[in-house]
Symmetry: none
Subunit: 229 residues, 2 copies
DNA sequence: GGTGCTTTGTCTCATCCCTGTCATATTTCG
DNA sequence: CGAAATATGACAGGGATGAGACAAAGCACC
């Protein structure tokens, strides 16, 4: 997760190569295909963090790819940036309807695409942009996958890590158990809401440094929030 | 109440699914139906915070649904955003006349609908849009679920919190015990009206800062109102 | 493929706070 | 003053959260 994984669906070989080179240079892991069906396979095999999707591609059409990505639980949340020809105003509307997050009309500068990708990633998942997240005396390094509090490094399990990361990305905000399940466990998880309590307790225990300073606030009948000290 | 409840009335399954997904993703609780009559039933069962209403639907027509929503006391105040076909200029006028708050012509981008929904909610119920509510020396942060008075943070129980939020959303207005029960406890709660008195007292106690400044006004034989200092 | 450790979801029990109601005191108004 | 309405204090029950335990599943390592 340290390196954002991009899936580039583009059937112009020259453009594909150019972009691949630029993205690799910026520290992204890029996989490319020219074919819509193959894109779906690749996406389901190893869910990317963002999809760059040319509208006019071989095989399954762009709009269809978009739709199917949204339908699959694994990839439903993956942001999509569309590339369209300038003339196809209508496509743009349909693309946005279908769930694309942003679009770019050809021709565009690679730099602009880079910027959009970075912006979308930062919005959706700040950690993916590789930024160190800080909240109070907590520091989370998404690249190294490490957390520390007041300099002391913490030992967290996978779920605790994701839970804490989510809280640190939205400090002070109260989330219901249901919201936490959606955000941390994934939409549609069939998990008992009370289970969240247990993980909150485990997270609390894992980040405990002294009895008095618990940064996780319980809001009765509402949920939990992280209160940076 | 932290999560705004939307009712989506749309008979194009593809569009409905897409919107449902996007809204769920943005933290809304969405219920969907393709049928006008069913929409009315759903709305009366559990009043939504906002209705997105496609004009061209099966069963009762959009304009009729709109009218009936307005007629029912429970849903009379619920904002409505209409979706119309581009050609039907005439419908748009009649829709707004009938009491829709905003409209969008198809095709539209989900993002735009999101923006409108947020805008309408912010206007009608700031708390649902996550905005800080202020009333006199009281400040309520619905996102963090915190209340403070003159800078001092207050400690409220769940019901007291909801009650205060409701008052702060409608300052200076007098509400009967029955209205408060409906608004704060939920429609159809089988609770003794006198119980409201008790919670008013608890709320008064919780926000008390000195004996003289009680912002809650008792209106004999009518109810209670919040009077911002 | 087996083994042992870690993680994870659920259950149960204990605790504490919240909540609705009642009895009673106090206020308001005719 | 008397009646109605409201404020207050007390209380029992319920509901929500915290803590510990445990079996199943996942996982790394051999």
């Amino acid at each position: 997760m340290a390196v954002p994984k991009l899936l580039l669906v583009e059937d112009d070989p020259a453009l594909a190569e150019l972009l691949e080179y630029r993205f690799a240079n910026e520290g992204y892991a890029v996989r490319t295909t020219a074919d819509g069906d193959e894109a779906l396979v690749m996406a389901s095999e190893d869910a990317p963090d963002l999809v760059i999707l040319d509208w006019m591609i071989e095989g399954t059409s762009g709009i269809e790819v978009c739709r199917r990505l949204r339908r699959d639980k694994e990839t439903a949340h993956v942001p999509i940036i569309m590339l369209t020809a300038r003339e196809a105003e209508d496509d743009r509307v349909r693309g946005l309807e279908t769930g694309a997050d942003d679009y770019l009309t050809k021709p565009f500068s690679p730099r602009e695409l880079l910027a959009r990708v970075s912006a979308v990633l930062r919005r959706v998942r700040p950690a993916l942009a590789g930024e160190l997240i800080e909240a109070g005396d907590l520091k989370l390094d998404p690249v190294a996958h490490k957390v520390e509090r007041r300099g002391r490094s913490l030992q967290l399990g996978p779920t605790e890590y994701r839970l804490l990361q989510f809280f640190m990305e939205h400090p002070r905000r109260v989330f219901s158990r249901g919201q936490l399940l959606d955000a941390v466990w994934g939409t549609g998880s069939e998990i008992e809401e009370r289970t969240v309590d247990v993980h909150i307790r485990r997270l609390r225990k894992a980040i405990e440094i002294d009895k008095a300073n618990d940064p996780i606030r319980t809001v009765r009948s509402a949920g939990y929030a992280l209160e940076p000290a």
